[in-house]
Symmetry: C2
């Protein structure tokens, strides 16, 4: 049994999701949510992301983490802000020795919805169905669960390959 | 007596410098250096920046911090990497409740060299002269000391304004 932490960092809201892997095909959502940041001070906002993720890691003890790869074509200022949020999140995961896998947005959507250009609402609905949740999670939390689920699939695949060799 | 921490974050090397302010015009360099990051794993490299800065803060007990404002016109991928390093550094400062001031590169160079478009070597030589150092510091450390010194000047000015009112 392993728990995977999916993280969807953002300067305004950071989504997180914990999925438990039992056997080879059973995936359960253990926790999910989003961390809103408050105040005008950037370093304090980053600290809120960092501390909240540490609390999630301490509470649910994941063994691995996954994050979305970012490809931005425009707006370096947006990239800088997103980078800062990612930095605060990645330091939290690395501080607990969690290996962090990265997946492209296309791969995440393909893994979860079956279609690389799926809309946010489709991701929310598919996450609800796949993880048998009573209702669709909030958008940032759904993205984080999708990242975690994508890692579950690819991690399982890697493990099966390793068994066959 | 107050100590100011200047930080020049980068994904490959992060410069730092500590300046001690005594009275209104005496500035002394207490420590300076650069933190090289090693390995291919991004989150581990960010953790190296974060831990090394925490060590600097614990050793020299600064009361305030300063960082360079970033204005990038091109290359969002560079902005993302720089943002991640800034995030790791800012979380370290915020974790010790240091208020973090930001200054534009032009303001920093104007404050230290008297010319907003000064070259890196000019900054290194002026830092050596102003802080009466035996030799010019390494480029990233010099930039960090320049950021700290810029904050010393503007902070002094703000304090004087406050006294006059």
């Amino acid at each position: 049994m392993t728990r995977i932490l999916g993280i969807d960092p953002g300067s305004i809201r950071t989504g997180y999701g914990i999925i438990e892997v039992s056997g080879t095909t059973r995936f359960t959502c253990v926790a999910h949510g989003h961390i809103p940041t408050r105040g005008k001070d950037t370093s304090q906002r980053l600290l809120q992301i960092h501390h909240a993720l540490i609390e999630v890691i301490q509470s649910y003890q994941p063994g691995e983490a996954a994050i979305e790869q970012v490809f931005l074509k425009n707006n370096p200022q947006t990239a800088l802000k997103l980078g800062q949020a990612r930095g605060a999140a990645l330091v939290a995961a690395a501080g607990y020795a969690l290996p962090v896998a990265e997946y492209s947005p296309r791969k995440i959507k393909q893994s979860v919805v079956g279609y690389g250009a799926a809309a946010k609402t489709q991701v929310q609905q598919m996450i609800r169905t796949l993880l048998k949740m009573p209702e669709a999670p909030q958008a940032d939390a759904a993205d984080a669960l999708a990242i975690a689920l994508c890692h579950c699939y690819h991690r399982q695949f890697s493990l099966k390959i390793a068994e066959c060799v």
